[in-house]
């Protein structure tokens, strides 16, 4: 018999509620998450610069 393929599920981190999930969705969809993505890109750019200096 083939081994059972494990199910893929939707679980929440401990202490997180669906209200937290909805809040995060709202932040992203309203554009607030855009700033997070931009700051991540800026951070990557900075790391790249450090490597180039070495």
């Amino acid at each position: 018999m083939k081994p059972v393929k494990l199910p893929a599920g939707y679980r929440l981190p401990k202490g997180t509620t669906m209200a937290d999930v909805r809040r995060l969705d709202q932040e992203l969809l309203s554009g607030e998450g855009h700033h997070q993505a931009q700051s991540y890109d800026a951070k990557r750019g900075q790391k790249r610069t450090h490597r180039e200096e070495k």
């Binding site: 599920g9 669906m18 995060l24 969705d25 993505a37």
Partner: protein, 185 residues
């Protein structure tokens, strides 16, 4: 509650783009069941009764915490609508979101390739901070990261679509968007 839940999930299915529904049908991922039981125990019963074997004990326990599961061997999405995480006042939103997440899982598990799976950690790093934290804190295995990202972004893109938008949201890294487009639709 079950009747209301079934109607919400049916509506969530109808809101999927036709191409995505066709894709899900093509991979036999167009069946679902809403129930009021811990999903690890229930899935194990279903697998054993279908002659597919049993889930490991730790996987039963892990899956009992889940709001929903995609069960590849049975080609079915199971949703535990009695899970305490569902809010009565936002049941429609929560349940639709969870159903979309699981259909994203079904597509990802069938269509993501080994390179996609191996790049899971990198894709997590490309997510907005809040989403990355969510994926890391749930305790998924490294090889589950890509599937989790596809499922989660797929669900959020469906909410984006429900709000009348289309295309790539400005907050989503192009590489992650391309991954989801390639794998899920």
């Amino acid at each position: 509650m079950l009747t209301e839940a079934e109607e919400i999930v049916r509506q969530a299915w109808r809101e999927l783009p036709r191409g995505d529904r066709d894709l899900l049908k093509a991979i036999s991922a167009d069946q679902w069941e809403v129930c009021e039981r811990p999903l690890g125990t229930y899935t194990d019963e279903l697998l054993r009764s279908a002659g597919c074997g049993s889930l490991p004990a730790d996987e039963i326990s892990r899956s009992n915490d889940a709001l929903a599961l995609w069960v590849p061997d049975l080609r079915v999405v199971l949703i535990n609508v009695s899970h305490s995480a569902f809010d009565a006042s936002t049941f429609d939103y929560d349940l639709s979101r969870v159903a979309w997440h699981e259909w994203g899982h079904a597509l990802s598990l069938d269509r993501a390739d080994e390179d996609d799976i191996a790049a899971g950690e990198r894709y997590v790093e490309l997510l907005p901070e809040g989403l990355a934290r969510h994926v890391r804190q749930v305790g998924y295995r490294r090889r589950e990261y890509t599937h989790e990202i596809v499922a989660e972004i797929y669900a959020i893109l469906m909410i984006w679509r429900r709000q009348g938008n289309a295309g790539q949201p400005p907050w989503l890294h192009p590489e992650v968007y391309e991954l989801v487009r390639r794998v899920a639709g």
